[in-house]
Symmetry: C3
C-alpha cells in the first residue's frame, strides 16, 4: 500500500498561471429558496425585493430575485479552489457588474480568464488578475468582475512571466449598467420598503451612520462560507490557524460585505439592488466575536433608462468594535482604527 496526494487538489501556484488562460471552475450550483432563507437568517437583510414575491413581480422581476451578494458569493466561491487556494491576500475587486437577476431554480457556474500576472520583487509571490463570469443555465452572464490576489510561488525558481497589469476602470460607468429589461420602480411602495427616502432625497457628500451593530459567531461565518462553497482553509480550520498569523480563523471578506449591506438597510432601505461594485478593500481581518458597524457616503448620483429608477454610487465603510457615529475612514497613512472594509459600489433606488 502506498500513500500519495496525487489526487488531492493542491490549488495553483503563481507559476501555474498563464496569461489569457481560461479556467472553467467546478461544481455548478442550483440556487434554491433554501439558500435565500439561509442568507436572510445569516445577515438579517430586509430589502423588500429579496423578501416579497408579489412586490418583486410588481417591479417586473420574474419572481423574487436572490440577494445580489448571495449570487456574487456563490459565483466567487467556485473560483477559490483554482485561483486563491494558495493566496496570501485578496487584494482587490473591480469592474463588477450584475447583469441579470438570479432566481431560485437558476444554476450558476463560473469561468475565469487570467488577465494579468506580475511577480513580486521578493521572488516568492506574485499578483494574479482574473476576470470571472458567473453564468446561468441559459448561458447568460449574471455577474462579471475582476479580482486580483497575491499567490505564493510553489517553486521560487520557476520562470518569471513577463509582467502584465490590466488597465481597470476606477468605476463602472452608468452607461455600462445592465438593468433587467422591464424593471420599473414607478409604482414602488415606500411604505412596504421601510423608508420614505427615495433617490431624489440623497445628495453627493451625504453621510449616513447605519447605527446597528451585529456580532459575528464562528458558526455563522463558517456556515455562510460553506453555503458559498468557498473552500479557503483559513476560514474553517482552527487546528492549523491556532499556529497561523492571527491564531484564529479569519472571516471570509465577503461575509463582511454582506453584513455591511444588511446593516445599511437602516438608512438605505430603498437601495433595492446592487448593480455594480467599483472596488473594494478588506482593510483589516475580522474574527468571531467582533461586532460590525457601518456607515455610507454618497459619492455620485446617476439616472438610468428604466422608469422610476436612479442610481447612487456609495462608499460603505465597515468597522469592528467601533461605532460609526464619527464616520471613521481613511486617514493618512491608512485608515482609522477599527475600519475593516472600504467598499465602492452602485445601488439602484426608486425616484419620485
Amino acid at each position: 500500500m502506498s500513500g500519495s496526494n496525487a489526487k488531492t487538489a493542491a490549488g495553483n501556484y503563481f507559476e501555474d498561471f498563464r496569461l489569457d488562460q481560461e479556467i472553467t471552475h467546478a461544481t455548478p450550483r442550483t440556487v434554491t429558496e433554501g439558500d435565500a432563507s439561509l442568507y436572510l437568517a445569516l445577515y438579517g437583510s430586509r430589502f423588500v425585493v429579496n423578501c416579497a414575491e408579489p412586490f418583486a413581480r410588481s417591479m417586473g422581476y420574474a419572481k423574487t430575485p436572490v440577494d445580489d451578494l448571495l449570487a456574487f458569493h456563490i459565483v466567487f466561491g467556485k473560483t477559490v479552489p483554482d485561483v486563491s487556494l494558495n493566496a496570501v491576500a485578496n487584494l482587490g475587486y473591480a469592474e463588477c457588474r450584475f447583469l441579470a437577476p438570479v432566481y431560485a431554480g437558476d444554476t450558476l457556474s463560473t469561468a475565469s480568464r487570467v488577465i494579468g500576472l506580475k511577480e513580486n520583487s521578493n521572488g516568492k509571490t506574485g499578483t494574479v488578475y482574473v476576470r470571472s463570469t458567473g453564468i446561468n443555465q441559459r448561458g447568460e452572464t449574471v455577474i462579471d468582475y475582476v479580482r486580483w490576489v497575491m499567490v505564493r510561488k510553489g517553486n521560487t525558481d520557476a520562470v518569471t512571466p513577463e509582467p502584465v497589469v490590466p488597465e481597470l476602470s476606477d468605476r463602472v460607468a452608468p452607461e455600462d449598467f445592465a438593468l433587467p429589461a422591464g424593471l420599473d420602480a414607478s409604482g414602488f411602495d415606500a411604505t412596504m420598503s421601510g423608508s420614505a427616502h427615495l433617490w431624489d432625497d440623497f445628495s453627493v457628500g451625504e453621510r449616513i451612520d447605519h447605527v446597528d451593530g451585529m456580532t459575528i459567531e464562528e458558526a455563522e461565518h463558517m456556515t455562510a462560507t460553506r453555503l458559498y462553497q468557498n473552500t479557503a482553509r483559513v476560514h474553517f480550520n482552527q487546528f492549523s490557524e491556532k499556529d497561523g498569523r492571527f491564531g484564529r480563523r479569519i472571516i471570509y471578506g465577503g461575509h463582511i460585505i454582506s453584513l455591511a449591506r444588511a446593516i445599511s438597510f437602516n438608512g438605505l432601505a430603498n437601495a433595492f439592488a446592487i448593480t455594480a461594485i467599483n472596488g473594494g478593500r478588506h482593510v483589516a481581518p475580522c474574527f468571531a466575536g467582533d461586532t460590525v458597524f457601518a456607515w455610507s457616503e454618497v459619492l455620485e448620483t446617476a439616472d438610468t433608462a428604466n422608469p422610476g429608477i436612479g442610481a447612487l454610487r456609495l462608499r460603505t465603510i465597515a468597522t469592528k468594535d467601533r461605532s460609526c457615529a464619527d464616520y471613521p475612514g481613511p486617514i493618512d497613512p491608512g485608515y482609522d482604527d477599527g475600519v475593516i472594509l472600504d467598499l465602492d459600489y452602485w445601488v439602484l433606488m426608486p425616484k419620485r
Copy 2:
C-alpha cells in the same frame, strides 16, 4: 460633506404614538420551505402536521402548514422597528388567534393599531398597547394579537396623552377559535404522530414534565431572530450589550416560546396546532449557554366544530438550568428560581 442621521430609523418614542393610530409595517415576506427547514433545525420540532405533506393533506390542509410560531414570529418581527425599537420591556400578549394556516409561498405583512397608551408615573416611559394583524397575499388575516410594551419617552417634557387602557380578555373563548374549514382529524394516525395520548386522555389539572433540555448558543438565537427580521438591538450587538443591563445579548423571548413548544412534543405530541395564545409573560431573560426545560398543565378542555378535533388550554412554564421534574412555577411573590416563561395558550388535538 455633512453627516446626519436624518435617514436612519430611530424608532418611535412613547410620545410619538397616538390612540387609534394605524401603522403599516415594512417588508412583506414570502415564507418558503427554506424558512420551514431552518425553523425545524433551530428547534428540533417534530409535530407531524408541520413535517409531512401527505399527513397534512389527509387532514384537509392544502399542503404542509408552517409552524404556527414561525408565522407568529415573522408577523411579530415586522412590528419591532415601529413599535418596540425603544422599548424597555415587552410586557405581555393577549387575544392572539391563529386564523388561517400559513403555507410556503404565502406572503405575510403586518399592520398594527394603537389601542391603548398610558404614561408611567416616572414620566420617562409609558405603556403602548397595539393590536397587530398578520395578513397574507390574499388579504386574509392569518394572525391577530394584542401586545403591550413599555416604551421610553424621547423627550420627557412631551405632552402626556389621556391614559387609555384597553379591556383585554383573560382567554380566547373557544367560540372565537377559527379552525380552517375542512380541517378533520377523524382519520388521525397516532402512530405517525408519535403518541397514543389523544384529547380524551387529558384532564384539567394534569401536569406533564417534558423532560428534555436544550442548550442555546449565540449563533442559534441570532440566526432565528434574523430569520424573523426582528431588529431589536439587544439580541445582536455584544459590543454595546457588554455595557448593558446584563452584560450580554438577551435572547428574543419568542425564541424561548418556540423552544418550549418544541420541547413540549415529549408529552404533547398530538397537540398538532396552536389555535390561540391567551397570554404570556417572559419572567426572566435568557442568555446563550442556558439550558431550557419545560412543563405544562392542562387548564381547560373544549370541543370544536371540526370532526375529531378537541382543544386543550395549556399553561407551559419554561425554566433555565433547572429540571422541571418538580413543576416550578409561580410562588408568592413572583416565580420559582429559574422560571423564564409562563405561557397560556390553546392547542388543537385529535379526539378518539
Copy 3:
C-alpha cells in the same frame, strides 16, 4: 392537581424489546430544498450531483437528489426515540444499502424490526440489533440498514431473552447494489465535477489524504442533529452533560460521517454517490472545538451494470485535531490517537 410522566416518552429499555418486533417510527418527513441547503451549509459538500439540477438530470436523475447521508440521517433520526433513547453506545452498522434516490418533495418514514437481542453478562445492559428501512411516499424502500446499540435495562431483574445474534455480512456485495434504473455516467463532465480522476485511476491499496480540516461548533452539530430530528439527549443538554461522562455535549456520530464525506471531496470529487455502507465504527467521541480531518484507502473495486459507472469500496478514517498526512488508523490494540471514525462503504464513480 397531580403530576406524572405517564405521557412523556421514556424510550424502550432492553427488556422492552422482543425478537421480530416491528416498530413503526413517528414523524414522517417531507424533505425539501431547504433541508438540502442547510445540509450543504453545515458541511460544505461539493459533489456536483447534489448541487446542480441540470447535471443530475443529464445522468438520469429525475432532479437533484439530496445527499445520500442527509437521507440516511433523517431515516436514522426517526429510530432514536424508540431504539436508542436509553442507549449507552451505538455499536455498529452493517448491510446499509441506498436503494432509491431521495428528492425534495419526497416524504420519508422509517420502520424497524428487532433482529437480535443479547443481554450482557453484567445483567445491566444488552445489545439490540435492528434492521431499519426508510420508505418514501410511494412505499418504495430508499434505505435499508442494520445497526446495533447497547441499551440499558430499566429493571435489572427483568427476564433475560434467549440470546440471538444475527449473521451480518462483512460487506454489501456488488451484486446487491441497487443503482437507479437509467443512471448513466457515460457523459459525465469531469471539469464540472472538480476532478479528472475517474474510477479507472484508482487502485486497491491506494491511500488519499483529504488534507482539509473543519472545526466544529456547538451550534452547528446541534442544528444538524435537530434537522434530522434525532432526539438523543447527549447532543443537546449541557446542563445535564456537564455532570456526564465527558462533561460536554457529545456530537452525533453521523455528523462526523457527513463531515468526513464532505472533506473527502478533495481527492474523491467524482465519488458522486454512496451506494452502500458496509460497516462503521465511532472510535472515539467528538466535541465542539475539535477539528476533523480524514483520509481514505481503496479496499476494492467493482463494476456495475449501469453505463459508465464503477464502484469503489473505501475505508475512510476521520481524526480530530490531527492531520491525516501519516494515515493514522488501527493499531494493535485499538487505534492511533485522534482517530474518531472508521467507515467502510461503497461509492459510485464514473468510468473512462
